[in-house]
Symmetry: C2
Subunit: 546 residues, 2 copies
């Protein structure tokens, strides 16, 4: 996800609107939370990966983005050959890995009398090794693309690319060498890193193969994103976002069970929350922990509470939950600030003052989704309070939930079409229905009617990517539409698997392989946290999926 | 200097021809010599250099290679400005330095949400910052050119270019950044390294300004090349060659007096000499000390002895000299192997079996130069023997010298023209006259006649570069032509100074700024050891130059 620049407005708002939140307490708590975040920083495990072989990328209309990797030879073949003759080669590590690429350089003839230079291009999917990166038309930094030019002054030596990369394939291209000696490349390796050090339970043997495959790819995605934080993507953006944390921690609860990582991330976000007590949507670990200035996301602040609740439910770590409780409670003020007397949120105002994310989807009106998600967050935070025996501190919340639900039905629900309509143009979208259902605004039966109507509404705005698709599956399950949940999961994530995914992609539109929110599809992340959630569904609901 | 591939022939020859040299002794000695080389490895001193300012390169026919650096602003100006606006800048450090380039990156607006990428181009002379490096037409590795593409993942940070570079100018070009934050560059520095840690005596106050200037540039050249060995050039080739060592150690004897570095280099070359006891012309320090396979240079092997003699003369370090004496004595076998009954060396055979360097000069016939240099080396080695009181071990040498001198006069000297003629085509060259004079084949008066005739011989092949020019100056001095020595030194090295040299160049033809033995003049070394010798002449012969 990229940044949005509303932070000045937000800053203005939070300064004006809040007097109840004590600055001194916040400073003290944040400093402590940051220390705890540091204490729970995991030690990364390292695994040395050998190449699976040498491949070439060939054009193939039937393959994802039009390119497929075709085996050429074993890697040993190139070890025995002058690299000046080979000149360019693509190494396939057989799976997606995050970490450090290295190889040996040895003299075959003569003495190395000058430096050699390579371009090393690391790619998660075949197209990154086949498509020229320039001219670059993307809207985010060109340097996210993992092509590096390196000069090696001496040999024999072992060269390690300093940049941490995330990839399955590495292209090695010789750009310069001396005519007075010859050399080879050997011992190509990848030092893969991850904070995962457990093996999750196997699925039921009787599970369909496609479910097993989806689960495997999901686990791989999750493992790759689990570094010293839950990263959104190990290739890009390599940082902690609340939205990704939420979905990753859900999947982790049902697989690797590395709860310390969740705890670290909850603390890190808490420690880097803003002066007014609102969470910042994304934070960085280096050079020292810091938040991205002004990245206040309405929906992400609230989902933090749900992530915390799910963490406590999985671990019963009441100490952490009580420690972070004031922060969670504080996030609810974001809702109450915008609730109008009629129970509807002031969408225009919220939209002007906050970044409302929900999905990558051009033209999506987020009024109904915002209303639904807010109700959902109030409910989940109230559940958290009950776990902590603190529901007394939220005595107004049950009433508020009811009021907001009623307003949703009254103002946004069309009983004829059975669909929620969002904004002045009464836009029909998956996002609106999903969040109203997750907010429990409709009964189970009504939810089913809504979802059935939705899929038959041609003009309905579909999910822009895996992130919202996750909530769609959850809405189906909550509505008791288990068959549809399964077929949707298989249809969507299974679609990626069938197209050769080793890890699930940041962006996936079954009808458009080249979709990119950044204007240049090779810069998309092809191992993305928020796409890993089949792991959660398959394992939390075995009766549906296994 | 680049490699020449005659090593198979040489190997064959040395295996067949030599039985007197004991392999076991050699192995033992070499191992010990290498240990001593390591023990005398100097600790490099570090100096932090601040930029002198920002410059731009402008086309100017009157300047060296058609480019000059024109001041633009102070460096502080760019520190205050968004580097995204600046985009490209050339930093001038005011002088030539060898070491590590670094700068700080700081966020001006927003939060760094993606990597930045730069091309850093380091140049010794303005043209390297002005001329495109591609398409590259050079015959040696393109990677010698000091342009690196670097990706920096986080900021604020201090970035240090890992590659050791040698330059005065650094161009910083922004290749990629994120549109969502702004940043600046500040605290640009250069950590200059050298093994020089002494300040040489000042010249006589009354010295001409041009002499002072030449001396200063010469000292700078020498200092830059004095690293953990006497490098030939800190930009390229960054290694120890016997020819450069000889000239650098001469200059060092009269300036920085870092005798330990000379001792280290003499031992390093000794430790890496070939199995048959002959020195290899060039050696590398990393990854571990090793010689360049097959680089046997007839003239360089013999000049090692002269370097050793000059070292002993300067230091009276008899222990080192006695330790290395067997090796020095061994080098004389190279001469005796090729001396024919008539006292002339078998040039054709030597030329077939060895690399005869002498100069970078297309078409140069080296017969006379080889004869002259061999006589010179015999004399100098005999002088060394006398310093060690070992002349008894060289009892045949004085006779051999006389025999070879006589043959030179009889077979190669034209008493009418007073010039030495080399090869079947009776080629007239500076190289031939220089080495015959240094060998003492002619009387002082005759030498003067020869040198006077030489400069009036239009067809005479002139020196190809500073290396042979050094011996030309020495020949003039040895012939008592002090005035001509001074005017030649001022004319040649002063020519570089007048063209803006901060350090003396590897290649210099007053009539052709673009000359390159490598087919691409930006890859020439513009700080080259063998060009530093005005330091030696000016300081050894103050009565002539100061």
């Amino acid at each position: 996800m990229k940044k949005k620049n509303k932070w000045l407005t937000v800053l203005f708002c939070v300064v004006l609107c809040n007097i109840a939140y004590s600055q001194n307490n916040t400073d003290y708590s944040r400093a402590n939370w940051l220390i705890k975040a540091e204490n729970f920083k995991p030690k990364l495990s390292e695994t040395i990966i050998q190449p699976a072989g040498i491949v070439k990328m060939v054009k193939d209309d039937a393959s994802f983005q039009g390119w497929k990797a075709e085996p050429v030879s074993s890697v040993e073949t190139i070890y025995k050959t002058s690299f000046k003759k080979i000149n360019s080669v693509i190494v396939d590590f057989g799976n997606h890995y995050t970490g450090y690429f290295n190889f040996k350089l040895g003299v075959l003839q003569g003495t190395a009398d000058g430096p050699v230079r390579f371009r090393l291009t690391c790619g998660e999917v075949p197209s990154e090794l086949a498509i020229p990166f320039d001219p670059y038309t993307g809207g985010i930094s060109r340097a996210w693309l993992q092509d590096e030019v390196v000069t090696i002054m001496d040999m024999p030596t072992t060269y390690t690319l300093e940049r941490r990369v995330a990839c399955r394939y590495v292209k090695i291209e010789l750009l310069a060498s001396s005519p007075y000696f010859d050399f080879n490349i050997s011992d190509i390796q990848f030092k893969a890193i991850s904070s995962v050090n457990t093996v999750p339970d196997a699925l039921a043997n009787s599970s369909e193969q496609i479910i097993k495959d989806i689960d495997k790819v999901g686990l791989n995605t999750l493992k790759e994103c689990m570094q010293t934080v839950y990263e959104d993507g190990p290739k890009r953006d390599r940082r902690l976002w609340i939205g990704d944390l939420f979905l990753e921690s859900l999947a982790n609860n049902y697989s690797f069970k590395n709860y310390d990582l969740t705890r670290r991330c909850l603390y890190l976000l808490a420690g880097l929350s803003g002066d007014e007590g609102y969470l910042v949507g994304t934070v960085f670990e280096t050079p020292k922990p810091h938040a991205q200035a002004g990245q206040y996301l309405f929906d992400y602040c609230l989902l933090y509470n749900v992530a915390l609740k799910e963490y406590v439910a999985a671990t019963n770590d009441l100490e952490t939950a009580n420690d972070l409780w004031p922060l969670a409670k504080r996030q609810l003020d974001i809702i109450t600030k915008y609730v109008q007397p009629n129970g509807l949120l002031d969408y225009e105002k919220a939209n002007a003052e906050w970044w409302l994310f929900f999905d990558w989807k051009e033209g999506l009106n987020k009024q109904a989704a915002l209303q639904g998600l807010s109700i959902y967050a109030l409910q989940q935070t109230y559940e958290l309070a009950k776990l902590l025996n603190r529901q007394g501190e939220l005595e107004d919340v049950p009433g508020l939930i009811e009021q907001m639900k009623e307003a949703s039905r009254k103002e946004l629900y069309n009983p004829t079409s059975r669909l929620f309509e969002s904004g002045k143009d009464k836009q029909i979208s998956y996002a609106s229905q999903i969040w109203m259902i997750l907010g429990g605004v409709l009964s189970k039966e009504e939810s089913q009617q809504t979802l059935k109507a939705l899929v038959n509404t041609e003009k309905a705005l579909t999910p822009g990517g895996p992130y919202l698709y996750h909530y769609f599956i959850q809405a189906l399950i909550n509505s008791g539409m288990n068959k549809e949940a399964k077929s949707s999961l298989i249809g969507y994530w299974g679609g990626m698997v069938k197209k050769g995914a080793d890890t699930f992609w940041e962006v996936y539109d079954p009808k458009n392989d080249l979709l990119s929110p950044y204007g240049f599809y090779p810069v998309n992340s092809y191992c993305h946290a928020w796409s890993c959630t089949p792991v959660y569904f398959i394992r939390k609901y075995p009766q549906i999926f296994q």
